[in-house]
């Protein structure tokens, strides 16, 4: 088996979550790369989709923002933000969307904070804010979350609740009035979490080589179930080759 980097591992983990026919809502960086790689590996008929309104862009160069002019080239449709979010809220197309997102904090139900740390009105640290994150998390069928595993990020209580995950359990979204769907997986630098279909609480699904479940728990403020965790299946040679050669030959992201 080939050598591979942590970023490659994380990217391939996301690629494996994308199914054929999915509309892949992504941001820049690793999430975009995962969407590109999925089209070559497992989901040739998936669509790369940006909240700015670009559908199925030909990404000859890596965009540095979802508003980068590189997302506007050779697309299927250059729509507006209104169009993009309506596609996700739409009762039919929204069910085809898988959203890839990150955040500053996450709780055990996959609820996210991308707004601020400390008091909302006079925060200790201010982040950019929701952007489309709350919208995507509210609307779409499944979300894939990228997070770096740190105690201050995997928290018992969010400082600000920006984007809904499973809210507070199996009935959380329904009680709240949100559509079905929610966080599907959390991909970190140490392992991969999923959510129990009973409790909707996060559990450890798998851990990377040289990492133990205990070390993972040490990096979290809350405790998750780790009993069924297994070693993460490493990227295959084929996956790595496609990722490196077809998606990021200049190693701009990887």
């Amino acid at each position: 088996m080939s050598e591979y980097t942590l970023r490659e591992m994380m990217t391939i983990a996301a690629v494996r979550e994308i199914n054929d026919g999915d509309i892949v809502f992504c941001g820049t960086g690793i999430s975009m790369l995962a969407a590109m790689a999925a089209k070559h590996i497992s989901a040739p008929d998936s669509f790369i989709f940006f909240e700015t309104g670009a559908i199925d862009s030909k990404l000859e160069e890596v965009p540095l923002a979802v508003g980068d002019p590189r997302v506007m080239y050779w697309t299927a449709v250059n729509g507006s933000l209104a169009d993009a979010f309506a596609t996700m809220q739409n009762r039919f197309t929204g069910r085809q969307v898988v959203g890839i997102m990150g955040a500053a904090q996450i709780d055990i139900y996959g609820n996210l904070n991308s707004t601020s740390i400390g008091d909302y009105h006079r925060p200790k640290v201010r982040f950019p804010g929701s952007g489309g994150a709350c919208d995507v998390a509210s609307f779409v069928n499944r979300t894939i979350i990228f997070m770096s595993l740190e105690k201050r990020k995997f928290v018992r209580t969010l400082d600000y609740f920006t984007s809904p995950g499973w809210i507070d359990g199996p009935e959380g979204r329904k009680k709240t009035g949100l559509p079905d769907g929610g966080p599907s997986v959390v991909i970190t630098n140490m392992g991969i979490f999923r959510f129990s279909s009973d409790s909707r609480k996060m559990y450890l699904d798998s851990y990377y080589p040289d990492v133990t479940p205990d070390r993972i728990l040490d990096n979290m403020e809350f405790v998750v179930d780790v009993v069924d965790a297994v070693p993460t299946r490493p990227p295959s040679d084929n996956e790595l080759q496609i990722l490196r050669e077809k998606c990021d030959p200049q190693r701009l992201i990887l």
Binding site: G53, M72, T162
Partner: protein, 325 residues
Amino acid sequence: MGASHTKVIDLKSAIETYVPDGAHISIGGFTINRNPMAAVYEIIRQHKKGLHLYAHSNGQGVDELIGAGCVARLEIAYAGSGRFAPTCIRFRKAIERGDIGFEDYSNYQMTLRFMAGAMGVPFLPTRSGLGTDLIRQWGFQKTERQNDIKLPDEKLVVLDNPFGTWADTPKVVLVPAINPDVTIIHVQKADADGLSRINGLPFVDVEQAKASRHLIVTCEELVDTDELKSDPDRNQVPPFCVDAVVHVPWGAFPTACFGRYDYDPAYLNHYKQDAADDIRYKKYLQNFIYGPETHEQLLAKINPAQLDAIRADERTGYATGLDRR
């Protein structure tokens, strides 16, 4: 329409006329793309104060207006400039220091708020934000709102679906309309009456334009009406929405303008460093904004080779192979 009815004026006059201190304002563009930067710099140059700024993700322009002290209050979804500033730097400082009032929304909520303004309805519904702090945390409190005729009394309202469970939707969030005093957008082409064409993604520019009491259009190219009317499927803003047309080539610089030029990584990296330090930022303002009297003079301070480097490739609409480190 005769030449006597032209709406073409210079940028200085446009800002003097339509952007008084305290105005409620919105600007077009998204993060590092098609912000009306020439107009933003002119607002700064004229030392406008107390602006109430509505933004979805209008990155660079928002950060510069805040940094220069023009903004008193901000309603916003996202303040970032892509890789150049994952969180806009002067925005972050202003909020952490308590220098400006602010209130958070999502991008779709802000989009719908402009759309409601454009449509002439007091609100629009969405399912976005149910259960979150976007609904619970108000940046402007009830009394501040009630004392200000330009703010709605509520931030967001949750409504039970009056049609029962129609569309499998038990409840919605209502977002209140925005009707700014003035919106400024930058477009690729406009005629003297304001008929405008945007190439590439329009973002929320069209809704922002139509929601606004007054509209300033800055354009890369001022063209004959017939050029635009010969291909009307491509035009977005009709003349009757427009108050002023300003011809400003490179008017979105240092942000991008699809088909014309890319964002300028050199300028944005330089800005990033300057913005991080208060003293350096003062010098940046002096050197790049207060010093030059016009956008042309600002551009004259940029290395011509760099301007050449960011010129868009005709095929792709951006500067293919540009060094963007």
